[in-house]
Structures are given as structure tokens and as C-alpha cells.
């Protein structure tokens, strides 16, 4: 395991992070880093500990072992709000959107720009709409009508709204929880492009997925989890996609399975 020597301090550094629920080890010995403008992929099969990992990063859970450093300082978030205030935004699979509300209202939900004097303070609709449209355009998506309900958008477009929102509200680190898992090939391509776009704009991105073929092209660093254990933390030039896939599924098991399948296909 090697860490790339970098003059800049990483946005996030994790060292030997562990999480225990009673005597159950949910996560152990996880080490990785997130650099500004780079994508760190977290790969793992179902039950590998990805969710626990995100929840620690997003402040939902606290880690029990190891050290979690944000821009060089050790931190321990006690709530999602805490993490959000420090610039760590998580975009969950369910996206935190209200389907019947319009794109711009969803974009600014909870932080609407207002004008006027209290108690006659109202939403600056014009500003909100133009900012929403602009920010979406920066992500490379041209929403024609920001009045349209989010429920009418496709899965990929919804992801883009969520990502654009997190970026606009000052996220430094963006955590994407399985953004491509429910999408078709083309839509996944769209979302992967947004990931690259977000990284280009200087954010550190943590991309959680179980699909190495989605992770490899966009990732700069790969953390592989299996059964709560770190299977390794590699820079892109240290690993090929095949090794990645093998590690992720627990190599030997997959080869065994492949052999069995071949035998089954060739038949008796």
C-alpha cells in the first residue's frame, strides 16, 4: 500500500478507521484519502461496509477506531448538519428530493433566497430560478423549465440536480452513494460525466459503487471493501480493472465461480 506523495494536504484523510456495533465489526482498518479535484472510489459488494463508511463520513455515525482528518485536523462529526457545515455533502440513493415540487424549489429547499423585510419576506423566485438553471448548466444539463416537478425528471437528471445543489451550497467533499445503481447504461454515463465535472470544479468526490466498470474510468484512487475489511487502497496506476474486479469480489471465490459456471455451460 502506498500513498502518493502530494504537496497539498488532502481534503480528507482516513487512517485505520473502524466501527463496532457491540461485538460485531462493521468496519476495520480502512485507510484512504480524498484530494481536491480527484475522485476516490469506494468499491465493495453488498454488505461490504460501504454504507457504514458513508455514514461515518457524513456524520450519521461516529467512528470507534482510527483517525478521521479534515484538511489536516482530526474531526469527529456528531450530526449530518455538522458534516454539512464542514463542507461534506452526501447525495443518497433516495436523493432527498420532493417529487411533486419543481426543480428550482427542490434545488433551494431549506435555503431559499429571500427578499423583503420580515415578516413580509418572500422567496426571490426569479433569482432562485436563474441560479438553479445556471448551476445545472454548469453541470452540463440544460433544464428547459425549472418549474417542472422533479418527479418528471429521469433518474440521471435527478442525480444531476442533487449534485449541482451540493456543489452550489459550498460542498468541498461530495459523497455519492451508488448514484448509478438504478440507472441504465446511458443514464449511468450521464451521471459519471457529472462526477468528472464535479471533480474538475475542484471538489473531492467520493464515489461509492459496486460496479468496477463505472468506477475505473472516473476514479483516481480506489478503496476496496469486503466484509468490513479494507482489501486495499490503490492509486489508479497501481491497479487494473481486472485486479479491481477480482479484489472486490474476493478474487479466489470469483475464479471458482467462473470455473463452475463454465462447467455448467459446457454441460455433461
Amino acid at each position: 500500500m502506498s500513498t502518493t506523495e502530494n504537496s497539498a494536504t488532502p481534503l480528507l484523510e482516513l487512517e485505520d478507521i473502524g466501527k463496532f456495533y457491540g461485538n460485531i465489526i462493521a468496519l476495520q482498518g480502512v485507510t484512504t484519502e480524498v484530494l481536491a479535484g480527484k475522485v476516490t472510489c469506494v468499491l465493495g459488494d453488498n454488505g461490504a461496509g460501504k454504507s457504514t463508511f458513508i455514514k461515518i463520513l457524513a456524520g450519521v455515525h461516529q467512528h470507534d477506531a482510527g483517525e478521521f482528518r479534515l484538511e489536516g485536523n482530526a474531526v469527529n462529526f456528531t450530526s449530518p448538519r455538522d458534516a454539512l457545515d464542514s463542507g461534506i455533502a452526501a447525495v443518497y440513493q433516495d436523493l432527498a428530493m420532493v417529487p411533486l415540487m419543481s426543480v428550482w424549489r427542490n434545488f433551494f429547499l431549506g435555503a431559499e433566497p429571500t427578499k423583503g423585510v420580515w415578516p413580509f419576506r418572500w422567496i426571490d423566485k426569479k433569482k432562485a430560478k436563474s441560479i438553479a438553471k445556471e448551476e445545472m448548466a454548469k453541470m452540463g444539463i440544460d433544464i428547459r423549465d425549472t418549474e417542472q416537478p422533479v418527479g418528471t425528471l429521469s433518474g440521471g437528471e435527478r442525480q444531476s440536480v442533487a449534485i449541482a445543489r451540493a456543489v452550489y451550497f459550498g460542498a468541498k467533499v461530495l459523497i455519492l452513494d451508488e448514484p448509478t445503481s438504478a440507472l441504465g447504461v446511458k443514464q449511468s454515463g450521464v451521471v459519471l460525466r457529472y462526477i468528472v465535472e464535479a471533480a474538475k470544479r475542484g471538489l473531492g468526490v467520493i464515489f461509492i459503487t459496486h460496479n468496477p466498470r463505472h468506477a475505473y474510468p472516473v476514479g483516481d484512487r480506489f478503496l476496496i471493501l469486503n466484509r468490513g475489511q479494507s482489501m486495499g487502497n490503490f492509486a489508479k496506476d497501481e491497479i487494473t480493472i481486472d485486479e479491481l474486479t477480482q479484489l472486490m469480489a474476493g478474487g479466489a471465490e470469483l475464479e471458482e465461480l467462473e470455473g463452475e459456471l463454465k462447467a455448467a455451460i459446457s454441460g455433461p
Binding site: L95, L109, R121, R144, G189, L192, R213
Partner: protein, 657 residues
């Protein structure tokens, strides 16, 4: 693990290729988004269904009952619609959009009225009470109201139980408390009387604010003492101006802006002149030839005016060609046959009998025939409109021609009703209304044949059109207001009943306006939609979901306070059972107005319209001389239809915007 290189290539490929495809796809998606015309845009508003239903129900009751369309009928409808129903329905709609119910809202209205009365009663008087100044009592009862709302909201938040259960508990608590405390303090199941304060003032001096506040909360406008001889001129002119602005606004939104021909404006002015002349002719005569002349003048005025306007402002329609698909033809035949059957049935009505009772009375054989007539007329109209719709899919010209035919059929029905009906109402009222509608349809079809439709958003034109529509609506409201609020000497001589408009109506309008603004324009409104639509999601992005819900419950109990005060000043004595069981009427009014039972979708303005619909049922059924027991059947039917229509509209809003 077959071939690493190709796999790697494959996995990169979607992104690289995705780049082009995506940007291309989005742009193409933009173009594929068809321009939605003014009518389609209107249709996805949650309150539009209620608005159409309100007009239809008004027309229905207007045609079956004599007093319904008169000022006295309007005053009682407005009064019932305003308070307690309307104010509460608006607040309850807001709460329902936030995803909660309040079953205690009905009981709370009575409870807060009782609290107010008890607070101002004399300690030493025959009936016990706290003896506060009225202003202090208002403030204290407001605190009590907000406490009830806070309690409901906090309980719902804390226990995570459905608000149905929590507020059902509050409902029984309030109901019991009302009875218990009334008996305990005044030894009766009613508390009163608030207007004793007037007697108190005579004896002791100082009315504790009653004189002023009774004007604020129970002021009245007696129509019969406000004579205005010029009223009819103002009312007719405002109506014509309003109607014209409305139509022109719709034209502006519907048609494509073109270079235009300035001669059109001249034609337009000429058309307006003809229209006014026609209306005056029609208004000043009750003889058939005068009617025909007036109608003709009006029609010519509308045609010349609108063609002129279009000529001046809009592009010509280049598309020609005419085709009528077979399925449109079928509908056309069905429509014509239905109208023919309607005429046949109407001729079998016995004209000698039809004056005794209103034209559509349910009980008589005449009434049954009349209903059949109406059914056939409606079926005919629907078939014809379906034919228009189908024809339009293949050619605009075909659709326009069929539309003109529909207009002509409407005009024909107008003259038929004019000649066959025995009642004055139909001879003049229905005749002119149908005539105007028929004429407009014909004119619309002519202009839509000649001039091109809009196919893109033009912000300037949109703003101009909307301004005209709003101005038109305001003018129509002013016209109706003038008609309702003032009398002429001639009317007084005819001994019309005493008609009173209460200040409650103003409270209702103001409350609806403020709450609608809050819902649509403020953070709180946005959060209301959010907590009703997806509570978890809104919490994740930082909306204070619990606080928003508590505030919504407090809004409902504030409305209950306002209604309680209005009740106390109106009735002076409040029964312990006042308001019990009315909470469902508020919910029904909200649902009829387009608010979803599941939360996250709805309109407070729609709830106000829903209250009107309920009020029309309350007033219309007895004034049509039907047993008022039918009211519930009517309300139930309306509710079911409303829910079905809302689901449909909501599905449209979600899917096809």
C-alpha cells in the same frame, strides 16, 4: 474476465460517447418538449377542476331555482362560504398540503368562541365569567388557540402517531371541555350573551371595546339602503369591458404575434361599438325581433372586433387543407342526433304546466322530461366537442369548421329555449348567455382558421396576455360587486327581500389572499409542500420539518380562533356543541379544491372555491325546493368526483409537464 482490454474500452466508452449523446440528447429533448398552449397550462393547476365545477354547479342551481341567481341568494351563499367554512377550509388545506389532518378544528371554533365570551362576562353578573376588557379577552383567547395548535403539532411530532389519531383525541377533549366547563361555570350548555356588553355600557359607561369590535367582526352592508341609479350602466359596461379583456388576453396567449395590419385596430373599435349597441338593444327589449336584432349586432360586433384585433396583432395562418377523419364524423353525427332528441323531448314538455314550478324540478313528469332534455343537450355538446378534438388532430381547418358548427348548434339551442320555455329566467337569462357563448365559439373558430397559433413561449406576450386576463377578471368582479352591493329604485319598488352582506366575507377574502401568498411565495409555503411531499427528504436538506408542522397546526387553530370570534359576534350566544363535526366539511372543501389527501399537493385558493361549492349545495338545494336532506348526497357525489378529477390532474401534473 474474458478480455481485459475490450472491457476497459467498453467501460470508458459510455462516458466518452455519452458526452455527445447526452448534450445532443438534452438539446433534442428540449425541442421534443412541445409548446404547451394556454389551455394545457391552465389544466395542470390544482384549482382549475374546482373552478370549472363551481361554474357548472352555479349554472345548474341557477337553472333549477328561482332565488339562486338573485342578490339575496348570493349574499347567503357568500356568507355560508366565508365563515366558518371558507376560512377553516383554507387553513385546513394548508395543513393537508403539509401532510397532516386536524379533526379537532371544528370543535376548536366553538371552544374558542366560548372562551372569548367567558372571558368578557361579568364575575358578579347572573352568569359567571372573568370580566375582562374585550381586547384583553381577544388576546388571551388567541393564546389559548395557539396553545391548542401547538399541543396538536407537538403531540404529532413527539409520538409520530398519525395526526388522525392525535387530533381525534384533541377533538374529544375539546368537546368534553366545552360541555363540562359551560355547565360548571354558567350552568348551561350555552354561553352568552356577548351583546350584553351594550347594556353594560349604558349602565356603567365604557363598553369594553364592544362597539368598535362588533363593527370589525360583525359589520354589515345592507344592500337595500344603498341606492345607486347609475348602477346598471356601470355594471353592464364593466361586464363588457371585463369580458372583452378576458377574451383578448386569451387570444394574446393563444396566437402568434405577427407584423399586423393597423387597419385591424379600426375594425376592433368598430366591433366594440357594435357589441355595445347590441347589448343595449338586447337589454332594452323583451320582444323577439328586438332580441334577434340585438343578438345579431352582438355577434357581428364580436366577429368584427376579434378579427380586427387579430389582424392588427397576429400572424396569418398559412396551413391550409381540409380533412375530416371518420371517427370525428361519427362524433359529429352522434352530437347532432343528441341535440335533435333534445329538441324532440322539449317539444313534448307541456308549456302550460312549466310555469308552476321551476323548470327542472325533480318530482314532476315535466321535470323528468326537462332533465332528459338537459342530458341530451349536454351529450350533444360533448359529442360535438369530441368531434372537434378528433378533427383537429388531422387538420386545423377541419377542427375549426366543426367548432363553428358547434357554435351554431349552441346558438340554435339558445333560440329554441327562448321560444319554448315558459319562465322569464330562461327567456332572457339563459337565452343571452347561450347566445354569447355560441357566438364566441363561432368567432373563435373563424379567427383560429385565419390566424396562426403560438408555438413558443414569448415572455412579453405572455405578460401582456396575463395582465389583460387579470384586468378582465377584476373588471368582471367589479361588475358583479356593483350588481350585488347596490339597488336601484325600481328594484326596491318591486319589494325585493332585505339583503345583507357581512364583513365576514371580507375576512374570508383577506385570509385566503394572505395564506395563498404565504403558500406560493414564502419559505414557509415551500417548506409546507416539502414536509407534505417527502418529510425525510426535506429534513435531510435542512428544512425544520417538526417546527413547520407545529406552525401549520397553529395556523389551523388561529383560523379556528378567528372563526370563533366571528361566531361569537354574530350569534352572541354560543352552544357547547358549536362546530362539532364540521371538521369533515373543511376537509371536503379542501379536497374539492384540489388538495391531495396524501399531502404535498394542493391549493388554498382552490379550498376557497371548494367552500363556495359546498355553500352552493347548502343554499341551492332548499332554494330549488328540494328536501335539504339531499344535500349530503350531493356533497358526497361532489367529493367523489373531486377526488377522481384531482387524481387525474395530479397524475397529469406529475407525468406530462
Amino acid at each position: 474476465m474474458s478480455s481485459p482490454t475490450t472491457e476497459q474500452g467498453d467501460s470508458i466508452e459510455p462516458i466518452a460517447a455519452g458526452d455527445d449523446r447526452v448534450s445532443g440528447g438534452v438539446a433534442a429533448g428540449d425541442e421534443r418538449l412541445a409548446y404547451r398552449g394556454v389551455f394545457q397550462r391552465l389544466l395542470v393547476q390544482p384549482e382549475i377542476g374546482a373552478f370549472i365545477a363551481a361554474i357548472a354547479i352555479w349554472v345548474f342551481f341557477w337553472s333549477v331555482s328561482v332565488p339562486f341567481g338573485k342578490a339575496s341568494g348570493a349574499s347567503s351563499i357568500l356568507d355560508v362560504a366565508a365563515s366558518p367554512l371558507g376560512i377553516m377550509a383554507v387553513a385546513v388545506a394548508m395543513l393537508m398540503i403539509g401532510g397532516e389532518f386536524d379533526l379537532s378544528s371544528g370543535a376548536a371554533t366553538g371552544a374558542l368562541g366560548i372562551v372569548l365570551v367567558l372571558l368578557v362576562r361579568d364575575v358578579t353578573g347572573e352568569l359567571a365569567g372573568a370580566g375582562f376588557n374585550l381586547y384583553v379577552a381577544l388576546f388571551l383567547s388567541l393564546l389559548a388557540a395557539l396553545a391548542i395548535g401547538w399541543f396538536n403539532g407537538a403531540m404529532v411530532n413527539r409520538t409520530s402517531l398519525p395526526s388522525f389519531i392525535v387530533t381525534l383525541g384533541t377533538f374529544f377533549i375539546l368537546r368534553g371541555a366545552k360541555l363540562g366547563f359551560s355547565k360548571l361555570i354558567v350552568e348551561q350548555i350555552q354561553v352568552g350573551k356577548l351583546d350584553d356588553l351594550e347594556i353594560f355600557a349604558e349602565e356603567n359607561g365604557g363598553d369594553r371595546g364592544y362597539g368598535f369590535l362588533s363593527k370589525v367582526f360583525a359589520g354589515e352592508w345592507n344592500r337595500n339602503t344603498h341606492i345607486w341609479e347609475g348602477r346598471d350602466n356601470v355594471y353592464i359596461i364593466a361586464a363588457i369591458v371585463g369580458f372583452a379583456l378576458l377574451v383578448l388576453g386569451i387570444y394574446e396567449l393563444n396566437h402568434r404575434r405577427g407584423k399586423g395590419n393597423p387597419i385591424g385596430y379600426g375594425l376592433f373599435l368598430g366591433g366594440i361599438g357594435l357589441l355595445i349597441f347590441g347589448v343595449l338593444t338586447l337589454h332594452n327589449t323583451d320582444d323577439i325581433s328586438g332580441n334577434r336584432l340585438g343578438a345579431l349586432l352582438m355577434f357581428a360586433g364580436m366577429l368584427v372586433g376579434l378579427v380586427g384585433w387579430s389582424l392588427a396583432r397576429f400572424d396569418r395562418n398559412e396551413s391550409t387543407g381540409f380533412a375530416l377523419p371518420a371517427n370525428a364524423l361519427q362524433m359529429l353525427v352522434a352530437g347532432v342526433v343528441s341535440l335533435g332528441l333534445a329538441v324532440f323531448w322539449a317539444l313534448r314538455l307541456d308549456p302550460d304546466n312549466s310555469e308552476n314550478i321551476s323548470w327542472l324540478a325533480l318530482v314532476t313528469e315535466q321535470g323528468a322530461r326537462a332533465i332528459l332534455f338537459m342530458v341530451f343537450v349536454c351529450a350533444g355538446a360533448i359529442f360535438l366537442l369530441m368531434a372537434v378534438n378528433r378533427a383537429r388532430h388531422s387538420s386545423d381547418t377541419g377542427g375549426s369548421l366543426l367548432l363553428a358548427l358547434t357554435g351554431a348548434a349552441t346558438v340554435a339551442m339558445a333560440f329554441f329555449i327562448r321560444s319554448e320555455s315558459g319562465t322569464h329566467k330562461f327567456r332572457t337569462g339563459a337565452f343571452s348567455a347561450l347566445l354569447i357563448i355560441g357566438g364566441l365559439i363561432i368567432v373563435w373558430s373563424v379567427t383560429s382558421m385565419l390566424f396562426a397559433k403560438r408555438n413558443q413561449v414569448v415572455p412579453g406576450a405572455d405578460r401582456f396576455g396575463l395582465t389583460m386576463i387579470v384586468a378582465g377578471l377584476l373588471s368582471l368582479i367589479a361588475s358583479i360587486g356593483a350588481r350585488l352591493l347596490w339597488v336601484t329604485q325600481a328594484e326596491l319598488d318591486a319589494e325585493i327581500p332585505r339583503t345583507i352582506f357581512s364583513v365576514r366575507i371580507l375576512w374570508f377574502i383577506a385570509f385566503t389572499a394572505v395564506i395563498t401568498w404565504v403558500l406560493r411565495r414564502t419559505k414557509f409555503g415551500s417548506w409546507t409542500f416539502a414536509v407534505g411531499g417527502n418529510k425525510e427528504a426535506s429534513r435531510q436538506v435542512g428544512v425544520p420539518a417538526g417546527r413547520t408542522k407545529i406552525q401549520l397546526f397553529m395556523l389551523v387553530s388561529f383560523a379556528a380562533w378567528l372563526v370563533g370570534i366571528l361566531l361569537a359576534f354574530r350569534l352572541n350566544t354560543i352552544q357547547a356543541s358549536t362546530g362539532d363535526g364540521e371538521e369533515f366539511e373543511y376537509i371536503i372543501a379542501a379536497v374539492v379544491g384540489g388538495t391531495a389527501l396524501t399531502g404535498g399537493y394542493g391549493s388554498t385558493f382552490g379550498a376557497a372555491i371548494g367552500a363556495f361549492i359546498m355553500a352552493m349545495a347548502v343554499q341551492g338545494i332548499p332554494s330549488a325546493r328540494w328536501n335539504s336532506d339531499w344535500r349530503f348526497l350531493f356533497v358526497g357525489t361532489i367529493l367523489l368526483l373531486a377526488v377522481i378529477a384531482n387524481n387525474y390532474i395530479r397524475a397529469k401534473a406529475e407525468a406530462s409537464r
